[in-house]
C-alpha cells in the first residue's frame, strides 16, 4: 500500500542546542517510530545548498513525501520542492510542520510538537486532527487587568449585554495610559481618550468592576471556569465614600506615588489620581501606621460620612463563574538603575521617560512645568518650579534595556516613538532649549509614524545616531559621552537633564498568572499566543484570550485592536452558545490516531 514507509522527516538546526526550546532529540526518537516514516534527516546530514544531492537521496531511500519540521520550516521548502521534482515526484508532497505556528514554542510543548509532526507525516492539517467537541458556554467573562486593553475588551463585550467581571490589581483602572500626557503620533491628550472609557466602565450595568483585587485561583474548563478573586480591603466603603479627600489631607503618613512614577509623595489614605475610577479613596495597608501598629486612625475620626472608613476591614474572597477569560495584565518598565553607566538613582537629574511623562503632564509634580531637580536647603533634591531652573538642554537616550544582550534582547517597540513625542513636548514647552536624541536605529514603523519622525526633525530636535556610553555629573552639570556616527565626531556634551527611554518588560506577576491560567510564557516572559501571525489572541486553552502588551510589546492602537479582537473571540462563543473543549485535553496518541484515521479515509477516497 502506498504511504507505508515512504516519508522522510527533516529537522532544521534552528532550534537545537537551546535548553529552553523544544527537545528535538526526543521528537526525533518519536518520529522514527511513526508507521509511515522511512528516514529522519538532520540538517547536518543534508547538503542544504544542493537540490541535486537531495534528489539522489530521495530516489535512493525511495521517498514519496517529505515533512520539514522545525521553528521555521518554510525556509527549506524551496530546496525540498526542487529536489522532489528532480526526483520525479510532485512538489505538493513537501509538507511543513511548523512548531510555532501551532503553539509549540518552549520545552514544555515538546509533546505538542510531536503531535504536529505526526499530523504532517499523515498529511492532515493540524487543525482538522485536533478538532474537539463543543460544550455549552457560560456567557459571563472575566477580564484580568484594567489598562487600556482590559477596558476596551470589557466595553466591547458589555456592549453586547453580556456580563463582564473586570479585575484590577491597583486601586483604579487606567493602567499606564492614564500616566501619559499625549499619545503618538496624533499628539492627542491621552486622558481625553482614556477617561471617558474609564467612566463608561465604572458606570456600565454589565461590567462588574473589582479594583484592588487579584485572581487567586482558577478551576474548571473552557466554557465553565470557577474563579476565586481576592478582594483586598480598601478599608473605605466604595458605596459611602463621597471623595471629599479630608482623610488624605489629615493623614500623617507619606509615601511615593505610583501614579506620579514616584516623583511625588502621596498619603497612606489616598486616591491614585483625581480622575480615578472608581473615584473613591482607599488606605494603603503597606504603609498605614494603624494597620501596622494599631495607632493613629485620624482618617476615621475626620471622615464626614459615618461608617465610611473601617480600618479593621478584612480581605474577602469572591467566587465567580465565567465561560471565557481575557488576560490583559500589561507590562512594567525596565529598571534603569541596572545601567550603572547612566547613573540613574545616583544623579538626580537622570530621569526615566515615565517620570518625564509625569513631569510634562499638567497634573504632574510641577503642574506641567518642566523643571530639573535642585538641592534645597535641607539637601534634598526636589523639582524646582522656578523658571531659571528649567533645563536648557536635555538628552534623551534610546534603547535602555531593549535590544541589549545583557538585558532584554527584544525591541520594546514603543520607545523610539514616545521619545520623539517627549522631544516634541519638551520643545513645545521650552522652545529655546536644546533637545538631543541619541538612538541606535529609529523604528517609526506605523501609520503616520515616519511623518511624525520627520516632523520632529524639522522642529529642530538634534537626532544623533550613536549610543552614549556614559553619563557623568560634575557639579550640577551632566555630561553625556557619545559617538556621533553620522556626523563623524566624538561628543562630550553638557546637558541639564538626561532622559532614559526605558523599555517594557513583562509584568512582575506574569509567570504567576500564567501558571494559574495554565498558559505558557516565552523565554522573555510574554504570554504565548496560539499562532503569532494567524491567531495572536488565542492561547492553547480555547477559553483564554490574551490582549495588550502582556502578549508582547506594542503601542496603544495595537493594544486596543488586539483587545477588540479578543472580545470578538469571546463574543463568537457566547453568541454560538458553545465553545470547543481545550485542545490540551487531547493526548499525542489521540491526535496521532485521529490523523491516521483521517488519512486512511482520504486515501480510500482517492
Amino acid at each position: 500500500m502506498e504511504g507505508i514507509k515512504t516519508t522522510a522527516v527533516f529537522f532544521s538546526n534552528s532550534s537545537r542546542g537551546d535548553s529552553d526550546l523544544i527537545d528535538i532529540p526526543e521528537i526525533i526518537n518519536y518520529t522514527e517510530k511513526l508507521i509511515k516514516v522511512n528516514s529522519v534527516w538532520l540538517q547536518d546530514d543534508i547538503n542544504i545548498y544542493s537540490p541535486e544531492l537531495v534528489s539522489r537521496k530521495i530516489r535512493k531511500d525511495n521517498i514519496r513525501r517529505i515533512v520539514i519540521a522545525g521553528q521555521n520550516p518554510g525556509m527549506y521548502k524551496s530546496l525540498f520542492a526542487k529536489a522532489i521534482v528532480l526526483a520525479g515526484f510532485s512538489p505538493d508532497d513537501v509538507i511543513l510542520a511548523s512548531f510555532p505556528e501551532h503553539g509549540a514554542l518552549i520545552k514544555s510543548d515538546t509533546e505538542w510538537a510531536k503531535a504536529i509532526v505526526a499530523c504532517a507525516v499523515n498529511n492532515i492539517p493540524f487543525e482538522n486532527a485536533t478538532l474537539t467537541e463543543e460544550i455549552s458556554v457560560n456567557p459571563n467573562t472575566l477580564v484580568i487587568g484594567g489598562g487600556i486593553a482590559g477596558i476596551q475588551a470589557s466595553l466591547e463585550i458589555a456592549a453586547s449585554k453580556n456580563k463582564v467581571y473586570l479585575v484590577e490589581k491597583s486601586g483604579t483602572i487606567g493602567g499606564h495610559m492614564a500616566m501619559f500626557d499625549k499619545t503618538f503620533p496624533t499628539l492627542d491628550c491621552a486622558a481625553c481618550i482614556l477617561t471617558p472609557k474609564m467612566v463608561e466602565v465604572g458606570q456600565h450595568q454589565y461590567i462588574e468592576l473589582m479594583t484592588y483585587s487579584e485572581v487567586k485561583e482558577i478551576r474548571g474548563i473552557p466554557g465553565d471556569y470557577k474563579v476565586k478573586i481576592l478582594k483586598k480591603a480598601r478599608r473605605m466603603s466604595l458605596s459611602k465614600c463621597i471623595g471629599c479627600g479630608v482623610c488624605a489631607e489629615k493623614c500623617p503618613v507619606k509615601t511615593p506615588s505610583e501614579f506620579d512614577s514616584k516623583t511625588t509623595l502621596r498619603k497612606a489614605a489616598y486616591i491614585p489620581f483625581p480622575q480615578a475610577v472608581p473615584n473613591k479613596y482607599m488606605i494603603d495597608e503597606s504603609v498605614c501606621t494603624y494597620v501596622a501598629s494599631g495607632k493613629c486612625g485620624i482618617c476615621a475620626k475626620v471622615c464626614p460620612v459615618p461608617g465610611c472608613i473601617n480600618l479593621d476591614e478584612k480581605d474577602e474572597i469572591v467566587e465567580v463563574n465565567v465561560g471565557n477569560i481575557i488576560v490583559a495584565i500589561g507590562f512594567k518598565t525596565f529598571d534603569a538603575s541596572k545601567f550603572e553607566q547612566f547613573g540613574y538613582g545616583r544623579f538626580p537629574n537622570v530621569l526615566t521617560s515615565l517620570e518625564l511623562e509625569r513631569l510634562i503632564n499638567a497634573s504632574g509634580p510641577t503642574g506641567g512645568k518642566i523643571a530639573r531637580r535642585i538641592q534645597d536647603k535641607k539637601g534634598n533634591w526636589i523639582f524646582s518650579p522656578e523658571e531659571v531652573y528649567s533645563p536648557k538642554s536635555v538628552a534623551i537616550i534610546h534603547c535602555i534595556g531593549s535590544r541589549d544582550e545583557n538585558h532584554n534582547k527584544y525591541c520594546s517597540k514603543v520607545c523610539c516613538m514616545y521619545s520623539l513625542k517627549l522631544a516634541h513636548l519638551l520643545k513645545e514647552k521650552l522652545p529655546d532649549s536644546e533637545i538631543n536624541e541619541y538612538y541606535i536605529d529609529i523604528r517609526a514603523y506605523g501609520k503616520g509614524y515616519e511623518e511624525f519622525y520627520n516632523r520632529i526633525k524639522e522642529e529642530g530636535v538634534n537626532i544623533i545616531r550613536g549610543r552614549p556610553a556614559k553619563v557623568e555629573m560634575y557639579g550640577n552639570e551632566l555630561i553625556v559621552r557619545c559617538e556621533d556616527i553620522e556626523g563623524a565626531a566624538m561628543i562630550e556634551q553638557k546637558v541639564d537633564m538626561v532622559i532614559l527611554a526605558v523599555g517594557t518588560e513583562p509584568a512582575a506577576d506574569a509567570r504567576d498568572i500564567a501558571g494559574k491560567l495554565g498558559i505558557s510564557v516565552d523565554r522573555d516572559g510574554w504570554f504565548n499566543e496560539l499562532n503569532y501571525i494567524g491567531d495572536p489572541v488565542s492561547t492553547l486553552s480555547s477559553g483564554i484570550m490574551i490582549a495588550g502588551v502582556c502578549q508582547g510589546p506594542k503601542d496603544i492602537p495595537d493594544s486596543v485592536a488586539q483587545a477588540s479582537a479578543a472580545a470578538s473571540r469571546v463574543l463568537q462563543s457566547i453568541s454560538k452558545g458553545t465553545i470547543r473543549k481545550s485542545v490540551k485535553t487531547l493526548s499525542v496518541e489521540q491526535i496521532e490516531k485521529r490523523s491516521q484515521e483521517l488519512s486512511k479515509i482520504l486515501e480510500e477516497k482517492l
Binding site: 541606535i440 550613536g466 549610543r467 556610553a469 556616527i485 563623524a488 565626531a489 566624538m490 556634551q493 553638557k494
Partner: protein, 390 residues
C-alpha cells in the same frame, strides 16, 4: 580612496580569533566607552566597520587597534555581546601577519597544525645537530666532567660557539623584524598619500609615548580595576625575558661559567630574579587564561597558548639545567641542555618574527606611528566634518 570591497575579509578574520562580527549593529557604544577615542579616530567601531564592509586596504593600513589596551570596557557594555575588545585583538593578530612580508606569519596564524609541526621539526633539527656536535668532533666526552664530578659546560659547548649560533640566529631575526617594521611604516605612513610627514614630525611623538609607559596614565579612564596588577606582572615578565635574552646573546661568557659561584654572586642573583619574573608571569597568565576572569583573557587563540607553553618549557628546562649543574649531575645536565635548546630555538625562530612574540616589537612602533599620524592629521586639520554642539 577608492578600493575594491573584499567580501571574504570577515571569513578570513575568523581564523585570527573573533567570530562575532555579524553581531555588531554599529551603535557606537564601544567608541564612546573607549578612552583612546578622540575626534578623527573613531575606534573601535570604525575598525569593525572596515571589516564588515570588506575594506581590506583600509584595515591593513589601520593603526588604531594598536592603541587598544584591552581593558575590556567596551566588551562589558556592548549591547550586542559582540566583544569589540577581542575583535581588536584579532585584528592585531591579522596585522602582525600583514606586516610580515614573507607571508609565513599568515600561514602560522591560519593553521594550528603547521605551527605545531614547524615547532616539532625545528626541535628535532636542533636535537640532531646537538647529537652530531656532541658525538663526532670533540669525541672524548670524559673531559666534559670536572674533577669534582660536576658538568663543564664550556668544555662541551664553549660560549664562543654558542655566541656564534646566537648571532647567526639573532641576525636573521633582526633582519626579519627590521624589514617588517619598515614594511609597516610603508603601509601606514608612506602609502597614505593624504599624510604629509616632514622629517621634524618624526621627532615629536616621543613625549607622548613616554607618558604611556605609566600604567596609571594608560588605564586611568578604564573601569576595569585589575589592570594594574596585570600591567606590573606583564612588565616584569617582559623585563625578565629581555634581560635573559640580552645576557645569552651578548654576555654568555659571564653567564655560562663552569665555576659555581656563591649564592649572592650577581650572576646568580640576576638569574634568579629573571626566573622569578618568568615563573610568576607564566603562572599568572596561565591562570588568567584558564579561569577567564578578565576580559582580556576570556578568549585565547591557539597562538597565545603556544607562546605560553613554549615559554613555560624554556623556563622549566632552564631551571632544571641550573639545578643539575649545581648538584653535580653531568649526564642530566647535558640532556637538559639539549632539551633547553630544543624549546628555546623554535620559540625564538617562530614566535619572534612570525607570531605573538612580535607584538613586543610592533606595539611600541605602532604606538609611535599612531601618535605621529594623529599629530600630522591634527596639524593639517584634515578631519572632514565636525558638527558643533554647545
Amino acid at each position: 580612496m577608492s578600493q575594491r570591497v573584499n567580501l571574504d575579509l570577515k571569513k578570513e578574520l575568523f581564523l585570527y580569533g573573533a567570530k562575532e562580527w555579524n553581531q555588531c549593529f554599529q551603535c557606537g557604544n564601544c567608541t564612546a566607552t573607549c578612552h583612546t577615542t578622540e575626534n578623527g579616530f573613531f575606534f573601535p567601531r570604525k575598525t569593525v566597520r572596515q571589516v564588515l564592509m570588506g575594506l581590506k586596504k583600509s584595515l591593513q593600513t589601520n593603526i588604531d587597534p594598536w592603541l587598544c589596551t584591552y581593558c575590556g570596557d567596551c566588551s562589558r557594555t556592548c549591547p550586542r555581546d559582540a566583544n569589540p575588545a577581542e575583535m581588536m585583538m584579532s585584528i592585531r593578530r591579522y596585522l602582525i601577519s600583514v606586516y610580515d612580508w614573507t607571508g609565513i606569519s599568515k600561514l602560522f596564524y591560519k593553521s594550528k597544525t603547521l605551527e605545531v609541526t614547524s615547532i616539532i621539526v625545528l626541535s628535532i633539527i636542533v636535537m640532531v645537530l646537538y647529537l652530531i656536535y656532541t658525538t663526532f668532533p670533540s669525541g672524548d666526552s670524559s673531559q666534559w666532567i670536572g674533577p669534582d664530578g660536576g658538568a663543564l659546560i664550556n668544555k662541551m659547548a664553549p660560549w664562543q660557539t654558542i655566541h656564534l649560533g646566537d648571532w647567526l640566529m639573532a641576525g636573521a631575526l633582526v633582519f626579519l623584524v627590521i624589514t617588517n617594521i619598515f614594511y609597516m611604516w610603508y603601509k601606514i605612513i608612506y602609502d597614505d598619500k593624504s599624510l604629509k610627514v616632514g622629517f621634524i614630525d618624526y621627532l615629536k611623538p616621543f613625549s607622548k609615548l613616554v607618558k604611556l609607559i605609566n600604567p596609571d596614565v594608560k588605564y586611568a579612564k578604564c573601569d576595569e580595576k585589575k589592570l594594574t596588577t596585570y600591567w606590573v606582572l606583564h612588565a616584569f615578565l617582559a623585563l625578565s625575558y629581555g634581560t635573559l635574552f640580552a645576557i645569552i646573546v651578548f654576555f654568555l661568557d659571564w653567564f655560562q661559567t663552569d665555576t659555581v659561584y656563591p649564592f649572592l654572586h650577581p650572576q646568580r642573583i640576576l638569574g634568579y630574579i629573571a626566573t622569578i619574573g618568568l615563573t610568576v608571569g607564566i603562572i599568572y597568565f596561565y591562570t588568567n587564561r584558564t579561569l577567564k576572569n578578565m576580559e582580556n583573557s576570556k578568549y585565547s587563540h591557539f597562538t597565545d597558548w603556544t607562546f605560553l607553553i613554549l615559554l613555560f618549557f624554556t623556563t622549566l628546562t632552564g631551571i632544571l639545567l641550573h639545578v643539575f649543574r649545581i648538584y653535580g649531575l653531568p649526564q642530566l645536565t647535558y640532556v637538559t641542555y639539549m632539551l633547553h635548546l630544543m624549546v628555546l630555538v623554535p620559540m625564538l625562530v617562530i614566535e619572534v618574527p612570525f607570531s605573538k612574540w612580535s607584538h613586543m616589537i610592533y606595539r611600541p612602533f605602532a604606538l609611535y606611528f599612531a601618535h605621529l599620524k594623529k599629530m600630522v592629521i591634527e596639524k593639517s586639520k584634515t578631519i572632514p566634518h565636525q558638527p558643533q554642539y554647545n
